[in-house]
Amino acid sequence: MSEDVSAKSTKSKKELRKEQIQHIVLAVIALIVIIALCWAWFVSNTRVSGTGAQISSQGSRFELATTGANTGVYDGNKKVEGTGKVIGDKTYYTTSGEKTAVSWMVGADSNLKNTSKNQTLQPNSSGRLDFSVIPLVDDLGTLNFTLKVIPYGVGTVSDEGAVQIDGAYYVPLSEAEEASQLLMGHLLFFSSYNQSSKYVGRLMPSETFQLTPLNTSVAKKLQNYSIYWIWPGYFDQYVTRGTDQSLFSGAEGSNLDYQNMLTNINNQSAHFFINNNASIPRVREDMSSADIGICSNYYNNGDETIGTNVRYVELQLTAAE
C-alpha cells in the first residue's frame, strides 16, 4: 500500500515537473511576444493611450529642424531628408515620429565643409552648424544634447555599419583606434564664438550638455541654436591666447575654457599627440617655445594619422528631454 502511494507520488512529481517546465516555456514565449508587441507599439505610434491601465504614451514633445539648401553632399546612402515644414519665410526639414533621425541640412553659413564636393575637412578649417528645436508642447523642459563624432575608414559592403558614399564603402572605426582618439582633441566644438571672446563653452563629444537658444520665437514655436567647430592647424593655437589664430581670448583674468583645455591636453594626450613613446612636455600657459615646438611635432603627427586613416566623419546631434 505504501509502495503504491510512493509510486503514485513519484509519478505525480515527474508529471508536475514536466508541467512546470511546459508552463515556464510558455511563459517565456508569451513574455517575448509581449515585449515585441510593446516595442512595436510604442516606437511606431506617436499617440497611444491605454484607458484600462490609466497609462498613456504621449507623442513627441519636440522635433529637431534644420534649414539649408541641401543635405550634406557626403551623406551617401544614409541620406534621409526631414519632413518639410514652412515656418515664417523658411522651410525647415524636421524629424518626426516616422523619422526620428534625419540628415542635417547645410548651406553657406552652416556646414561641416560639406556643401560641395570640392570642400573637405582638414586642419585649419572651421565653421558653424545651425539647428532649431520646434516645441510641440507648451511645457517643453530643458533639452539635453549629445554630440557624437564617428570616423569612417575604407571598408567593404559586407562590413557591419558600412556606409556607401560615391560608390565606395566606408566603415566606422572603433573608438579605441588612434585616429578615433585623435579626433576627440583635433576636431573641437564650442557653444559660442566671436572675434573678441574667441571660442567659449567647449562641447565634449559623447557627453550631455545644454545650450541656450539664440532666440526663441514663441509665435513660431522655434528655438534656434548654433554650434561652432574648428580643427586647429597648429598646436600653438591651443596654448597661446589672444592672437588672431588663438582658440582662446587673451583677456585679463582666468579663462575657464582655456584652463580646462590645458587640463584636457595633459590628461588625455592620446587625443592630441602621436609621440611614439617620447616624453611629452607638460602643457601650460608659460611653456617654452622649445616645448611648444616638441608638442607641435606630436600634434602634426596626429593630424597626419587622422588624414591617413579617416576618410569621412559623421557628426550626430541627439536631443532628449
Binding site: E19, A30, C38, F42, A101, P151, L315
Partner: protein, 237 residues
C-alpha cells in the same frame, strides 16, 4: 500531504512568474514613454595629408641657400639662386620671403622651369650635379607680382606701429632702443600661389631668388650680415 505541498509550491511559482512579468511590462511601458529623443547627422570628407617642402635645384635637399658666393663686384649687380616648392595634395600655397635689412639688396622672386637641354637663347642659370648632369633655368620670366609687404614702412624697414606692426608681437615693449632697426626682418607674402600642374601627384614649382644692388653698395667697404628666409605654407582653406 506531500502532494498538497507540491501543488501549493507550484501555485506560488506561477504567481511569482506572473508578478515578475507584470513588473517587466510596466517597466517597458515607462521606458517606451520616456524614450523620446531626436537625432540629426551629417557627413564630412576628411582630406588626406598634404606635403610641402622647399628644396634646391633638381629637388635636391637643402637647408640653406648659400648667399656667401654673392660677388658684389660683378657687372650685372645681380645674384640669383634656384629653389623649388614641391609637395602633394595641395592646390595653393603661400610663399613668404623674410629678410633683415642691413645690406640694401632688392629681392625678387621669379617663376622658372627646369630643363636638361641647354637653351638656345635667352638668359638662364646652370646647375651641375655631382654626376655631371646639367640643369638649366630661364631667368626671363616676370617677377611674382601678387604679393605685398606685410610690415615694411616708408623707410624700407620693419614697421613698429599701426596695422602693419609685427614688432610688438615679436618684441613686446622693447622698442628701437633695444632692437636695431635693420636686425628686424621685413616680410613679403605671396598668397595663394596656384600649383602650376595639378595633374601631377607630386608637384614641383621652380623659382629664382634674385638679389640686385646699386653701384654704391658694390664699392662700399663696410661689412654687414643679413638673414634671408623662405617660407611656404599650404594656403588656408
Amino acid at each position: 500531504m506531500g502532494n498538497e505541498f507540491s501543488i501549493q509550491k507550484n501555485k506560488m511559482r506561477i504567481a511569482l512568474s506572473v508578478l515578475l512579468t507584470a513588473i517587466l511590462l510596466v517597466c517597458l511601458l515607462c521606458l517606451a514613454w520616456f524614450y523620446n529623443n531626436r537625432n540629426i547627422y551629417t557627413f564630412a570628407h576628411v582630406e588626406s595629408p598634404s606635403t610641402l617642402a622647399i628644396k634646391g635645384y633638381n629637388q635636391t635637399t637643402v637647408e640653406q641657400i648659400s648667399l656667401s658666393t654673392v660677388d658684389l663686384t660683378n657687372d650685372s649687380h645681380t645674384a640669383s639662386f634656384v629653389f623649388c616648392i614641391t609637395g602633394s595634395n595641395i592646390e595653393k600655397y603661400d610663399l613668404e620671403l623674410a629678410y633683415t635689412t642691413n645690406v640694401p639688396f632688392t629681392y625678387t622672386i621669379r617663376p622658372t622651369t627646369q630643363v636638361t637641354v641647354r637653351p638656345g637663347s635667352g638668359d638662364f642659370l646652370t646647375y651641375t650635379s655631382d654626376d655631371g648632369t646639367s640643369y638649366y633655368y630661364g631667368t626671363g620670366q616676370g617677377a611674382l607680382s601678387q604679393g605685398k609687404y606685410v610690415n615694411k614702412n616708408s623707410e624700407g624697414i620693419a614697421e613698429t606701429s599701426g596695422e602693419n606692426d609685427r614688432h610688438t608681437a615679436a618684441y613686446d615693449a622693447y622698442d628701437r632702443n633695444y632692437v636695431q632697426k635693420n636686425a628686424e626682418p621685413v616680410y613679403y607674402l605671396f598668397e595663394k600661389n596656384a600649383v602650376r600642374d595639378l595633374n601631377q601627384s607630386n608637384f614641383v614649382d621652380y623659382y629664382i631668388l634674385e638679389l640686385t644692388w646699386d653701384t654704391d653698395i658694390a664699392t662700399s667697404h663696410q661689412k654687414e650680415t643679413d638673414l634671408v628666409y623662405l617660407l611656404a605654407a599650404n594656403s588656408t582653406p
